[in-house]
Amino acid sequence: MLRVDHLTKRYGDTVAVDDLSFDVAPGVVTGFLGPNGSGKSTTMRVMLGLDRPTKGQTSINGHAYHDFPAPLREVGAQLDAKSVHPGRSARNHLRALATSNAIPLSRVDEVLEFAGIASVADKKVGGFSLGMSQRLGIAAAILGDPGVLLFDEPINGLDPEGIRWIREFFANLAREGRTVFVSSHLMSEMALTADQIIVIGRGHFIAQGSVDDLTRNTAGTVFVASADNARLAQSLRDLGASVAVSERGLEIAQMPSNRIGEIALANGIALSELTPQRASLEEVFMELTADSIEYGSHKAPS
């Protein structure tokens, strides 16, 4: 269990994270979603004791990170695929990490094998592709067999086979009862990878829930086609719905489908189609974070 408790982090005048609070439960894969620069990496760095919070705190299973006698056996983290000395071999990198936390060196070979980089273990990391570096980061994260795992943008640079492998890997970790926290700015990816999603933008909490919750509660519209679209549109508008008329039918927002059906019946209008339109997570995400994209494209001032 990960807890972020009223966390604020400022770098000079820049507020990276602003009064952010959420919990991450074990046993599921939790996606941490936000546009670039929204404070995801900062939050993760504070969780790992790398950056000091300006206000608030984070805890892992009720403890501050620096209280763990052997942190790698409690928390595994992959922060940045390139946080390895380029002149060191993958094996030596993992050996140094294992040694610092009194993890048996036999574990190094196991995780190299697991991550599929055993054949390049003695090559310098500087020559690794992004995908191989990601796999080394994953090997480092599971080195201490931790119950809590953090991954910052782990999917970047992986090939399709690698992406399928890593989804499976996250799901297995969660099934084993571990806490799995995965950041991404790619909502379509998170829809497939995560069970639970936390959305932030500009350092603020925006939403938390399952993919279903998020797509159901936000931006859902209903498509309707009927014998008399014009009259139905008027009736629905009178009762508070917002209606867009097209040649094919009506796109109705701010009214659930059952209510639309009742209104059509009351007006004696036969419906030929009544279809709730699920917003894709991508649309939800765009809508949720529309105000909080730091480097979005803006219209030129007129």
Partner: protein, 260 residues
């Protein structure tokens, strides 16, 4: 299973230290500069000995002369010490390190133990070797010294101490500045540029200030008798230790306080 301890962190830092090529290169350069330039200086002295001014012949110190290459090797050890920490910042691996060992004082202490332990062994061997080589070059023409003489042994061994302390100074500057280029150029300024600026001052000011410079302290440490206007060996050693301790303490405080 125990957790993170100074012993485990030191072993981890030792793996890191010896698993990058820059360390090996640094040790090779240190050895080549100390021994090679030492031999070159000794050969030049031997060749010119008979033309040398008798007063200078009288002041000749076979120990500091044979160790003359250390004045060049000091930059190599400084780079070894600096890169031990700045390469972690430039590659981003410092975050991996500190996530594994959240107590940062343990990380820097581990690095200090590894750096001092390994460089002291290397530089003492190199200094003794270059001293012996120098004496064999001098032998027959130029007066020589023997390690059996207490003052000689002290001067040779303090040569290794000097180089090791400068490696720690490099580490300290790396902790403070976190960038290889900035740290190495600061190191070079302290050892080379400032003494040159002092050289432009009036003689009396020079006499009062030059002796405090790290390279002058090194010369005092490696001489059997104190050069004119310089400190004695032990005063010089104490002063250099003081500089290094202060710089290192500043580096540790900054490292512990700053975001990684």
């Amino acid at each position: 299973m125990s957790g993170v301890t100074l012993a485990s962190v030191t072993r981890s830092e030792w793996i890191k230290f010896r698993s990058v090529r820059s360390t090996l290169m640094g040790v090779i350069v240190t050895t080549v500069l100390t021994v090679g330039l030492g031999a070159l200086i000794a050969t030049a002295v031997r060749a010119n000995w008979n033309q040398m001014d008798p007063i200078r012949q009288l002041a000749f110190d076979p120990v500091s002369t044979s160790l003359g290459g250390t004045l060049f090797a000091q930059f190599a050890v400084g780079v070894i010490g600096t890169l031990f920490i700045t390469s972690e910042y430039s590659s981003g691996s410092i975050r991996t390190t500190l996530a594994a060992v959240p107590r940062r004082s343990l990380v820097v202490t581990g690095k200090l133990v590894v750096l001092v332990g390994s460089l002291l062994v290397v530089t003492e061997v190199v200094c003794v070797a270059t001293f012996l080589l120098g004496q064999s070059i001098f032998s027959g023409v130029v007066p020589t010294a023997s390690l059996g003489d207490g003052a000689v042994l002290r001067s040779v061994l303090l040569g290794g101490v000097y180089l090791t302390l400068l490696a720690v100074l490099g580490l300290a500057l790396g902790l403070i500045l976190r960038q290889s280029a900035a740290s190495i150029s600061t190191f070079t300024s302290l050892l080379l540029v400032i003494p040159i600026i002092l050289f432009l001052l009036p003689q009396s000011w020079q006499n009062a200030t030059t002796k405090f410079m790290p390279s002058a302290l090194g010369r005092s440490m490696m001489s059997t008798r104190a050069p004119e206007n310089f400190f004695g060996a032990w005063t010089a050693t104490s002063l250099l230790v003081l500089y290094v301790v202060v710089a290192f303490a500043v580096g540790v405080v900054l490292m512990v306080r700053r975001d990684a």
